[in-house]
């Protein structure tokens, strides 16, 4: 079965970012497909590679990058939510005249159309948030 996942809460906030990750892993472990993980609102903060949690804490951003690499996941960050919160990739940084970008490996920036498409192309859409 095809699952799409939406995350509306930032990392280290309450629990949604953790719940979504553990759910995604369980989906994959059961042999289902994760068609796309869409990060919206404060959820875009799960995608900054400048995140440095204490050494004894889980690394929420790297966890997603590693899961994406292992399972070829499509991690999509909403562009409008990302721009508001200072999250950008190389192209966007250039376009906005910024001196750096901060998107983590495995994530890409795109639009809300990707959420709609994921909803249409998946059997289930599960939302995690605040």
């Amino acid at each position: 079965m095809k699952f799409a996942i939406m995350i509306n809460e930032g990392p280290y906030t309450h629990q949604a970012a953790d719940s979504a990750y553990l759910f995604a892993r369980a989906v994959l472990a059961k042999g289902h497909e994760v068609t796309r993980v869409f990060f919206y609102h404060d959820g875009v903060n799960n995608a900054t590679r400048l995140t440095v949690p204490p050494a004894d804490d889980r690394h929420i951003v790297n966890r997603w990058s590693e899961l994406a690499k292992a399972h070829d996941l499509d991690l999509v960050v909403c562009i409008a939510a990302a721009q508001r919160r200072g999250l950008m990739d190389e192209n966007e940084a250039k376009r906005q005249g910024k001196d750096a970008n901060n998107i983590a490996p495995g994530f890409r920036i795109s639009g809300l159309g990707q959420l709609v498409e994921a909803g249409i192309q998946s059997d289930r859409l599960v939302v995690f948030g605040d």
């Binding site: 309450h14 719940s19 892993r25 289902h32 599960v126």
Partner: protein
């Protein structure tokens, strides 16, 4: 439809809203996760409303989140416990999933 509640009933009105909309309908189920699991415990002000809903719908709670809060021994009779595997199965079994954020 599977309804997911992730906040305590003492923090916002998600559970009350969910029960008002879905409580009398057929083929609905509730899954409590995160702080929502307090809605599945005994002796609270919302116990009666959850118990009334259980007459019509199945009620589940995510066991790892109950254990994280130390309330796994206080779950209401009739609430079924699931782990993340069971969470995935519940989503698969229901045509639609509504997270009451």
């Amino acid at each position: 439809m599977l309804h997911i509640i992730n906040k305590s009933p003492f923090e916002n009105n998600s559970l009350a809203s969910c029960l008002r909309v879905a409580g009398a309908a057929k083929d609905h189920a509730i899954l409590f996760i995160e702080d929502g699991v307090y809605g599945a415990t005994q002796g609270t002000a919302v116990e009666k409303s959850v118990r009334d809903a259980m007459a019509n719908m199945a009620v589940y709670a995510l066991n790892p989140d109950l254990e994280a809060r130390g309330v796994q021994g206080r779950v209401m009779n009739g609430v079924k416990l699931v782990d993340y595997d069971g969470f995935v199965d519940l989503v698969a079994e229901h045509d639609n999933v509504q997270s009451w954020l």
